[in-house]
């Protein structure tokens, strides 16, 4: 049987599963969520049913944690635990396939600032997920901060969930500036209409939207009680004297996104500039492994879906299905990447954030490593790369495995952050789960897989 495994059921993974299924390939679609759609199409978890329908030859494995991918003769073996999150009763599975599509997405980058470890400080994605998925606002009076167009839908969702958004602080230039009259590289971008609607919601609710502004401190003893926002110069250094104190019980911050690279690295895909390198059919450097969506570059849901369609078709072809080149989706990928590049250039993260930190500001939340401790370790010991940085400072050694602090502490220490995603166990599991040997489902027929395969159209 021709079978592929797709990991991640967001826009990219859904499109990949649909494209491969359309070509008669059996698809195992694995996702951490209970419902399809991932972060972008996050569904109301309290409502019955699922918005998305899948073809019959797609098996949707929900509530699953993929913790390892290993090479086997002729393909790949994917290890997962299925069941209530982090519970001891999850069922172990091992699925083999000759082709994989990785669509593991990305998560918010959070920059540290004094008080960011207080309860009441959330990532922008958390505020969005709680509002859309759980129907609850993360606070009553919320300050939204960070950079990029994503701050607009987050603020709109918070308003929809009943919160008062005190202010939206954009660290770069205002999104609303070019939104009304998109020129240059962003002219013709299909998302401007949607963003205009969010901007309209903010205007109707009289939410101040300030550019070149950031939350540089959260105050409170056991919970956020107020925040300090400040104007930033072009390098994101706070402008002295521009500080304002805002009363708020919650802060939602997001400074762009970090791709979930660990499974791609486990599958031996080459990473360039922090993203999985892919060819014109979304093929990675690892034979039979395709990648789509935010893993290959931050570009939003529409580009992710186009990449997914290309990747799903290529994976189907790789396992022997008759596939015509998906030329329309490939063209959409090319134009989508142009918009994504323009957008990413407009919303960079500048190094001035280093100066938001004080000596006692925590940089690694799990291991409670302060800036002082990090710098002392770097100064006194010979830190060559991520591995030694982790060992001498303790940063990134906790349960999140450096997902939250990795890019920040690597930047502060002056090393490349990719090493943080090299994790033999891709997501934490319990020792008893690790010790258990799962039965391998439909193992690959090594003889059949010995045939020459490829995706040249």
């Amino acid at each position: 049987m021709r079978r592929i495994v797709v990991i991640g059921a967001g826009p990219a993974g859904l499109a990949a599963a649909n494209a491969a299924a359309l070509h008669g390939v059996e698809v195992v679609l694995i996702d951490a969520g209970a419902k399809l759609g991932g972060q972008y199409h996050r569904q109301d978890a309290l409502a019955a049913g699922d918005r998305f329908e899948l073809p019959r030859n797609v098996e949707h494995v929900a509530n699953a944690a993929v913790w390892a991918i290993e090479p086997v003769d002729g393909g790949h073996r994917v290890h997962l635990r299925v069941g209530p999150a982090d519970g001891p009763d999850r069922k172990g599975r091992a699925v083999e396939a000759r082709a994989l599509v990785l669509a593991t997405g990305a998560y918010d980058r959070a920059l540290p600032f004094p008080g960011w470890d207080l309860p009441g400080v959330f990532t922008a994605g958390a505020a969005q997920a709680m509002a859309k998925g759980q129907g609850v606002a993360v606070g009553d009076r919320v300050v939204v901060g960070g950079t990029g167009p994503f701050l607009l839908p987050v603020a709109a969702s918070l308003i929809g969930a009943g919160a008062r958004v005190v202010e939206v602080a954009e660290a770069n230039a205002a999104v609303t500036g070019w939104l009304a009259n998109p020129k240059g590289a962003l002219a013709g971008w299909s998302k401007t209409g949607e963003l205009m609607r969010y901007a309209g919601t903010l205007a109707r609710h009289r939410v101040p939207y300030r550019s070149r502004t950031a939350v540089i401190e959260a105050h409170g003893s056991d919970c956020v009680e107020s925040v300090t926002v400040a104007r930033l110069d072009a390098l994101w250094n706070p402008v002295p004297g521009s500080e304002r104190r805002l009363e708020a019980d919650a802060v939602a911050v997001g400074f762009g996104f970090t791709p979930q690279l660990e499974l791609a690295l486990a599958a031996r895909c080459r990473v360039e500039d922090g993203f999985v390198a892919v060819d014109a059919v979304q093929g990675t450097s690892a034979p039979g492994v395709f990648a789509a969506g935010e893993l290959t570059g931050i570009g939003g849901a529409e580009l992710a879906a186009s990449e997914g369609a290309v990747a799903g078709a290529a994976a189907a072809k790789f396992v022997g299905a008759a596939v015509e080149p998906p030329v329309r989706a490939m063209a959409k990928v090319r134009s989508g990447r142009r918009f994504a590049a323009a957008l990413n250039a407009a919303y960079p993260v500048r190094s001035g954030w280093h100066d938001w930190l004080r000596d006692d500001t925590i940089v690694c939340r799990c291991e409670e490593v302060t800036k002082r401790a990090l710098f002392r370790a770097v100064d006194e010991r010979d830190v060559g790369a991520v591995r030694s940085l982790k060992l001498v400072s303790g940063a990134g050694l906790g349960l999140c495995q450096g997902r939250v602090c990795g890019r920040n502490v690597a930047e502060l220490a002056g090393v490349d952050a990719t090493g943080f995603a090299k994790r033999p166990i891709a997501s934490p599991i319990r020792l008893a789960e690790l010790a258990e040997e799962e039965p391998v489902e439909s193992p690959i027929d090594a003889e059949e897989s010995g045939r020459a395969l490829g995706v040249e159209y």
Binding site: Q39, A85, L118, T123, A129, V136, C223, E368, C400, V404
Partner: protein, 85 residues
Amino acid sequence: MRVRFDGVEVEAHEGQTVAGVLLAKGIRSWRTTRGGDRPRGLFCGIGVCFDCLVNVNGVPDVRACQRVVAEGDDIRTQAGAELPS
């Protein structure tokens, strides 16, 4: 459905996560850190940061943002590093 949080009965709905139940009740923190004994609660909301850890039915280190509640769940705050009971 009904679950318990630190011994007190709390009303919950099908599909809610532990974090969803607690935040809806106005509870912001349900864990203290191992080193500094500092309060923590939800942070990333999508299963990445492991900050929202909580004890569910005697098992510690369960991500409150990922765990969907079930009837009768016994949810407890977690102090530092705990061993399963």
